[in-house]
């Protein structure tokens, strides 16, 4: 032990004695070494510091080591800088809100109403952002039907032009300042005995009404005057019921009960009254496989969406519409034994009118006559016809009223006079109307506005009206608001916010309440109103909270319809008077008649700043980004206007003059437009004085940026046609006579998505037949399968193309899922709601007018519209025309009255996809679920696939739409706020890659995952594509073809089903059901 210790000690002392030295300096302990060892860093001063502190670079010295340091630092710095990725701060929730899970959408039921469109809807939100709007199929009066305007309204939420703060005289202010100022002024005005006028759109909200009542109470019932104004007036129909039955109201029409529908210029599929309700009702009876199919007659001037779907469409002049109604009245009276009025039937399509009357009479009580006219007297005749046919109480409800369109044209006119006289002290203008833009006498109104002491606008943007008001108290977007609605008798709906206010805005009603001295939030207010209402029903055991949350979850609630207080007894004097008025209003002289209407996308103009809607092709003309003079091609030819438009072929410009007012617009030849008439869309020419109403409301140039006029101002899109509207018979008249049209100098580029308008006799693209033939003939007669001659066993046999295959089948039949879609051409009305739904779901870029004109629209889903042609190959042969001339004439649509067919077209997900075989890098491949899928990452952009697509549905990213300057004004993804609308489940595609319909693969994946999590097999209908969801007529069905019980299996086996271009042998997964007309 001791020995060991000793050894260890020795070892240790040995180690301690040993001395290690770094250099000879240390060994010898030189003076320099001793000095320098005191200093840890050998250099007394660091030359880097020298270098950095020295301003005169010539004096610095950089030695080799420093040089290497600099070099090392610079290289590392440069490298790190190059690697830097943008820092995105994502802050996790401290407490996760119960209902929000990142990556999982949340849905809220809500309601849309803007004066034109009404709909119960469901809002899809992701991470607290509303990104998609769909119809509420379970609740509400519209059966889930929405228009493209409604489903695009989610984008308007993120409009960067929305006011971020309230404004006083054009400057941002705080709400306190605004409230103080306005309250003071209102008090002063009320004291001075001047009138306080509230100018609003139609209000169908009980709580808003109640808030207005409070406001009235505060400032005196007699002083506060409420004027209701609709930009597009349907005052005549309400008035006509007052004349006919003594009650100003609009009854509820039930198109689903009507076997015969006669519409005289009522565009009930797009803009006439409660159209979102009528469309699904109408579609219900358009299934040719049921015992009967409704028959739809349309007498109209312009080719409307409704007219293009009619079984019998008769073009009549706008000025003849009253006479057509009278003639129809007589024909019906002849059959029912009613009183006939003496009318001259000169120039009227009497044969068609008589046929319509026959059908109406045979289906009396199950028929419906409607008219689009805003002339109360013409509507009185309609009422009389319906009354004769016994439609009241059947197709026209005597109990349920429709409360929209309460605008009173006479009162609005009177208001301007009052304002001029200075009697109006304060004018409060609600945000959903824009009278400075949409009043025909807007100039008059604007100058009258200056005479009003206090002008307050509640518009969300500094639009034409708001920018002229002293105060702007920006209203919330409807997706940020609480509200309730009472659209028809017995039906209450709720709107709830789906996102916190984006900007410092306040709800209109809340402002009113505040000024009335009521500080409750509007949410509580609405709840109170509902509570009061329900308690008034006197049910003791009623649990309000249950009721409220139930209503909130469903978005609406239906209650018992109270008994009506009127009877459909025609006032015969009223009829006689109306008849004499209509007769006296015989067509005036003048070369042309002008019909003013609204378009499917833009509506009354409130959607003009929505790029999705500007880019949405009009269902009929297929023109985007403009309004124009639609003229019959025969008239256009006569007047020497250009007939072929699109791409590099511009339109002729013309000047329309009506009653001293004129407009210069491009002329678009429109088959089906009654000769001698033209039609012009309202809702364009917004922001004519450069008001900041939104990026995409102005014309953009060919290389991006805005087009500017000679004064350097931005040019609005299209021209404002509202000034042409005239006030006659106490109401706005949109049908004008005595117009002259003269050519103007220059041409104008028109952006259209379709240049060829006829089908060229290609019946394997679109198949159609008549109802009687469909009912009587076998399938082979109307849905002829395509057969090819095949050499088999030494002889030639005819074989169905579906049975011939060059390729091996994809092993998808009976294995796993196989997605398919079926589109019913009979019920597709071409409304284009699916197009915008697809746009919104799939982050489809907006490319602007110039790119559309170049034929580069990006729509994954488009609606092809074909007109009939007078020529076909057989006729050409009979007439010995020769094949060249025959084809040339087949390119020309029928000018007078073509039949129209709509065909939604998107990727057909071919099972033998020609695109898949040609891609050199396998970027487009077939999934084992039958989908034709695009792998954007792999795509190198040869466009070979697009060339080889027989349906031409592939869309190429010609530019970097999300960053290239040209699209800064139009593409929402280039705007910091609008970008929030993008669907996080779908990639925003980069430049140079191909894209196309994916059959909403993100929804399929989500649906499958959902089923997997639940551990249940996927239910039919659990997954639905955006287009199918948006279709108001349920014309699109989607499902799993391998699911034996699925709807799509029945659709696929249907006798009307065919595959487009079957003979090419690409075996699409999409099928169409041929169109059946009840003609």
């Amino acid at each position: 032990m001791s020995l060991l210790n000793q050894g260890l000690h020795e070892y240790n002392s040995m180690a301690n004695d040993k001395k290690y030295w770094v250099g000879l300096e240390e060994l010898h302990e030189t003076k320099e070494f001793q000095e320098s060892s005191k200093n840890e860093f050998t250099q007394s001063s660091l030359s880097v510091d020298d270098f950095l502190s020295e301003t005169d670079l010539n004096k610095t010295s950089t030695n080799r080591r420093d040089f290497l340091k600099f070099l090392g630092f610079s290289v590392t710095a440069a490298t790190i800088a190059a690697c830097e990725t943008p820092v995105i701060n994502s802050i996790p929730y401290v407490n996760k809100p119960e209902e929000i899970t990142p990556g999982v959408p949340t849905y809220y039921a809500s309601t849309y109403f803007d004066g034109t469109d009404y709909g119960s809807l469901v809002v899809k939100t992701r991470e607290g952002r509303p990104i998609f709007i769909k119809g509420n199929k379970k609740h509400g009066i519209n059966n889930g039907a929405l228009t493209s305007r409604i489903n695009s309204s989610v984008l308007s939420l993120y409009d960067n032009a929305r006011l971020k703060n309230p404004r006083i005289e054009g400057d941002d202010a705080t709400w306190d300042e605004v409230d103080r100022n306005i309250s003071e002024k209102l008090d002063a005005i009320a004291e001075a005995g001047k009138e306080i006028t509230l100018l609003t759109g139609t209000i169908i909200s009980p709580s808003t009404q109640s808030a207005i009542t409070e406001f009235k109470k505060k400032y005196g019932e007699d002083k506060v005057n409420v004027v209701t104004y609709d930009s597009i007036s349907q005052y005549g129909i309400r008035k006509s019921h007052e004349i006919s039955f003594g009650k100003a109201m609009i009854p509820h029409f039930d198109f689903s009960k009507a076997k015969v529908i006669v519409s005289v210029a009522a565009d009930f599929m797009d803009n006439w009254l409660m159209h979102t309700q009528y469309v699904p009702q109408y579609a219900k009876n358009r299934n040719p496989q049921s015992d009967w199919m409704s028959k739809h007659y349309q007498f109209e001037t312009r080719l409307s969406l409704t007219g293009s779907n009619a079984d019998v469409r008769v073009p009549v002049k706008a000025s003849q519409q009253g006479m057509v109604l009278l003639a129809l009245h007589n024909e019906v009276a002849k059959r029912t034994g009613g009183n006939q009025e003496s009318v001259s039937t000169d120039g009227l399509p009497m044969k068609r009118i008589a046929a319509a009357a026959d059908d109406l009479f045979q289906n009396r009580g199950k028929s419906l006559v409607v008219a689009g006219s805003n002339n109360a007297h013409e509507q009185v005749i309609v009422n009389s016809i319906n009354a004769m046919l016994g439609n009241y109480g059947n197709t026209i409800s005597t109990e349920v009223e429709t409360f929209i369109k309460q605008g009173n044209d006479a009162e609005v006119l009177e208001l301007t006079t009052k304002m001029k006289s200075g009697r109006v002290g304060a004018l409060l203008i609600a945000g959903d109307i824009n009278p400075s833009y949409s009043l025909p006498y807007a100039d008059d109104f604007n100058s009258a506005l200056e005479k009003v002491e206090l002008t307050v606008s509640f518009a969300g943007k500094a639009d034409e009206t708001a920018s002229k008001c002293g105060f702007i108290c920006p209203d919330n977007h409807y997706l940020e608001s609480w509200n309730d609605y009472y659209p028809v008798t017995g039906h209450y709906a709720l709107a709830q916010p789906t996102i916190n206010r984006l900007f410092n805005t306040r709800q209109f009603q809340e402002s009113l309440l505040k000024w009335s001295g009521n500080n409750t939030s509007y949410h509580d207010y609405v709840k109170n109103v509902w509570q009061e209402y329900t308690s008034s029903m006197g049910d003791e055991g009623f649990l309000f909270d249950d009721f409220w949350y139930n209503a909130l979850r469903n978005g609406s609630v239906s209650v018992k319809v109270p008994k009506s207080e009127w009877s459909p007894e025609m006032n015969s004097d009223a009829l006689r008077q109306a008849v004499s008025k209509v007769k006296s209003a015989s067509p005036k002289s003048g070369e042309f008649e002008v019909v003013l209407h609204t378009k499917v996308g833009i509506g009354d103009g409130s959607h003009a700043t929505n790029p999705w809607l500007q880019e949405l092709p009009d269902p009929i003309s297929k023109v985007t980004w403009d309004n124009y003079i639609a003229m019959n091609p025969a008239d256009a030819e006569e007047k020497g206007f250009k007939l072929h438009l699109g791409q590099e072929l511009p339109a002729s410009l013309a000047k329309v003059t009506v009653k001293g007012k004129s407009l210069e617009l491009p002329v678009v030849p429109q088959p089906g437009q009654k000769r001698g008439t033209v039609s012009i869309a309202l809702g364009y020419g917004r922001g004519a004085n450069g008001e900041n109403i939104g990026k995409s409301a102005f014309r953009t140039g060919n290389y991006g940026g805005y087009d500017k006029d000679e004064n350097g101002n931005k040019i609005p899109i299209g021209k404002n046609a509202y000034p042409l509207v005239v006030f006659e018979d106490e109401g706005a008249n949109y049908n004008l006579t005595g117009a002259t049209i003269e050519p103007a100098s220059g041409t104008y580029a028109i952006a259209t998505t379709q240049i060829q308008h006829t089908l060229m006799g290609r019946d394997s693209v679109v198949k159609e037949t008549s109802f009687s033939f469909f009912k009587s003939a076998p399938k082979e007669a109307y849905n002829k399968p395509h057969e090819l001659s095949v050499h088999e066993d030494g002889e030639t046999v005819k074989k169905n193309v579906d049975d011939i295959d060059l390729w091996a089948q994809h092993p998808v039949e009976g294995v796993g899922h196989r997605w398919g879609m079926s589109i019913d051409l009979s019920t597709c009305i071409g409304c284009s709601a699916c197009v915008t739904a697809c746009h919104s779901e799939n982050n489809v870029p907006v490319v602007g007018k110039d790119e559309i004109r170049r034929g580069r629209d990006m729509h994954w889903l488009r609606i092809d519209r074909y007109y009939s042609s007078e020529m076909d190959l057989e006729k050409g042969e009979d007439q010995d025309l020769g094949v060249i001339d025959t084809y040339r004439e087949m390119e020309v649509p029928e000018y007078e009255n073509p039949t129209t067919v709509f065909m939604p077209m998107m990727c057909q997900h071919c099972n033998h996809a020609p695109c898949e075989t040609v891609c050199p890098v396998a970027a487009t491949t077939h999934s084992n679920e039958g989908l034709n899928q695009m792998t954007y990452n792999r795509c190198i952009g040869t466009r070979y696939c697009a060339n080889n697509c027989p349906f031409k549905v592939r869309r190429f990213n010609w530019f970097n739409y999300k960053a290239y300057d040209k699209f800064a004004e139009v593409n929402p993804s280039q705007d910091a706020v609008a970008r929030m609308v993008l669907n996080p489940d779908v990639t925003v595609r980069s430049r140079g890659v191909m894209e196309k319909c994916s059959m909403c693969v993100q929804r399929i994946q989500a649906g499958k995952l959902d089923a997997k999590m639940k551990g249940e097999p996927l239910e039919d209908g659990a997954i639905i594509t955006a287009c199918a969801e948006a279709c108001p007529t349920n014309a699109i069905s989607f499902g799993d073809l391998n699911d034996a019980k699925s709807q799509i299996r029945d659709d696929e086996a249907d006798k009307r089903t065919y595959h487009a271009l079957a003979e090419v042998g690409v075996k699409p997964s999409m099928s169409y059901k041929l169109k059946v007309r009840n003609a």
């Binding site: 791409q647 590099e648 379709q754 240049i755 060829q756 006829t758 060229m760 006799g761 290609r762 693209v765 790119e851 170049r854 034929g855 580069r856 629209d857 488009r862 092809d864 519209r865 074909y866 060249i884 084809y887 040339r888 065909m903 077209m905 020609p914 075989t917 040609v918 891609c919 050199p920 890098v921 396998a922 792999r938 795509c939 190198i940 952009g941 040869t942 466009r943 070979y944 697009a946 060339n947 080889n948 027989p950 349906f951 031409k952 592939r954 869309r955 190429f956 990213n957 010609w958 530019f959 970097n960 290239y964 980069s990 430049r991 140079g992 890659v993 191909m994 487009a1060 271009l1061 090419v1064």
Partner: protein, 457 residues
């Protein structure tokens, strides 16, 4: 040695000696270039710069700067591609096929024809590159091993076949051309006095010493490469034609395309060779080597191939009617009577009618007429590709998508630019490379120059 009848006209005129040949060919390389060369290369250079500028703009901005649209996804890009590939056909045909057939007259023209081939194929290869939406990912078309799992190229795609066909053709042509150049580079090296030039030509000639062993190997390699290149002459354009033939688009989906495209390619290639040689023989005073005889022979090839092309056009028309397929027949009716009828008739006139003029000996031996017609044929062949590509695409199955194609200044700029680049390369070739295969030419001088033999021995 190859024997020729004494009565046969000699292939090289003007009583040339071996030395004369060397002097005539190497002279222009040794001497200062004429002014005309500088002027021409300046013009060509400026045009190429313009073209390159357009290409940079295209790649920086996007394919949208071209006039393409959703319906017409290919237009001038692929038209130019096929046109240049077609032009690139004559060189290999002349050197390989004519070599195998022992056509001695090819020796005067094969060098420049091959150079033209190389440059034309380079121009052609440019277009499939720049027509891609994402050219920076062009390497995706190569079956490279990668980390993406089982990701592989799509061997079904004719575009992929193109990648292989063009790259093989280009490399074989380049090697063939270069092998032929080696002895000539050695000759230049031996004559060069400037040290740098001597060094460069020395490197280029790979240490050629002119030994019998060198010559044997040279002959063997030439023959093997000719054997390899011959099928390529037919394969390249057959495969290019399959880009169209295997598709489903009426007007593209045609089994006649491979032979039709090959003959069209030979047709346009010879026309381009004529265009270039007629200028070159004049400028470089090579009239004794590239004789009227050569021009006449080439014109005869043009008549033959032009007629084949004509037959193909008419066959196509007939089949479109005979098939009874409405899309097919409409595609062709639309070609000759639709909005692009002018392109169709330009093609017909230039390619079918104009070469028939060469049946007249007077015309086919007239240099001016030949020069004009060779350009006409080249224009016609460009239109042929334009007609096939654009008129088939612009009106295919679904009428709603029918549209027109309008070129933009970038489309035009790039096409003109490639012509500029092509001529720049060719001018550089003419300045620094032996434009005639001088060593090979000497072999036919001995055979055909009987007079020279008699006098000297």
């Amino acid at each position: 040695m190859h024997k020729e009848a004494a009565i046969r006209e000699p292939l090289i005129l003007g009583d040339k000696t071996y030395h004369d040949i060397t002097a005539d060919v190497v002279g222009p390389i040794e001497n200062k270039a004429p002014r005309a060369w500088y002027i021409l290369i300046t013009i060509a250079g400026l045009i190429s710069l313009w073209g390159l500028g357009c290409i940079v703009y295209l790649i920086a901005t996007g394919i949208g700067v071209w006039g393409l649209n959703k319906t017409v996804g290919w237009a001038w890009d692929i038209t130019n591609f096929v046109w240049w590939v077609g032009i690139g056909h004559a060189g290999t045909l002349i050197s390989a096929v004519l070599l195998l057939f022992r056509q001695k007259w090819r020796m005067a023209i094969n060098r420049s024809a091959e150079a033209m081939t190389i440059f034309a194929v380079m121009m052609a290869a440019l277009f499939p590159g720049i027509h891609m939406g994402r050219i920076w990912l062009a390497y995706f078309v190569f079956p490279l091993p990668n980390t993406f799992g089982s990701l592989w190229v799509n061997f079904n795609s004719p575009l992929l076949w193109d990648v292989f066909a063009i790259s093989t053709y280009f490399s074989v042509s380049l090697v063939f051309w270069y092998i032929g150049l080696i002895p000539d580079f050695a000759t230049i090296r031996d004559r060069m006095t400037k040290p740098l030039a001597k060094k460069i030509y020395g490197l280029l000639s790979f240490g050629w010493s002119g030994k019998a062993k060198n010559w044997t190997r040279f002959e063997e390699v030439s023959l093997v490469l000719a054997g390899l290149a011959t099928p390529l002459v037919f394969s390249v354009h057959s495969i290019v034609s399959m880009d169209f033939a295997t598709s489903v688009i009426p007007g593209w989906h045609t089994t006649i395309f491979p032979p039709y495209f090959v003959s069209g390619a030979v047709f346009s290639g010879f026309a381009m060779v004529l265009t270039l040689l007629l200028i070159m023989r004049k400028v470089m005073k090579l009239e004794n080597y590239i004789t009227i005889k050569h021009v006449e022979y080439m014109n005869i090839v043009i008549i033959v191939t032009g007629s084949i092309v004509g037959v193909a056009y008419i066959t196509e028309l007939f089949i479109s009617w005979y098939s009874g397929v409405e899309y097919e027949s409409y595609a062709f009716i639309n070609r000759f009577s639709g909005p692009y009828f002018w392109a169709y008739w330009a093609m017909m006139t230039c390619n079918v009618v104009s070469p028939q003029l060469f049946w007249f000996k007077k015309i086919r031996t007239n240099l001016t007429a030949t020069f004009i017609l060779s350009i006409v044929v080249n224009i016609g062949m460009w239109f042929e590709r334009f007609v096939i590509i654009v008129t088939s695409l612009h009106r295919d199955y679904v009428p709603s998508s029918w549209s027109m194609f309008y070129p933009t200044w970038v489309d035009i700029g790039i096409f003109i630019g490639t012509i500029g680049i092509f001529f720049t390369l060719f001018l550089l070739f003419a300045r620094f490379f032996p434009v005639l295969a001088l060593n090979e030419l000497k072999s036919i001088l001995r055979v055909s120059g009987e007079k020279y033999k008699k006098e000297d021995h």
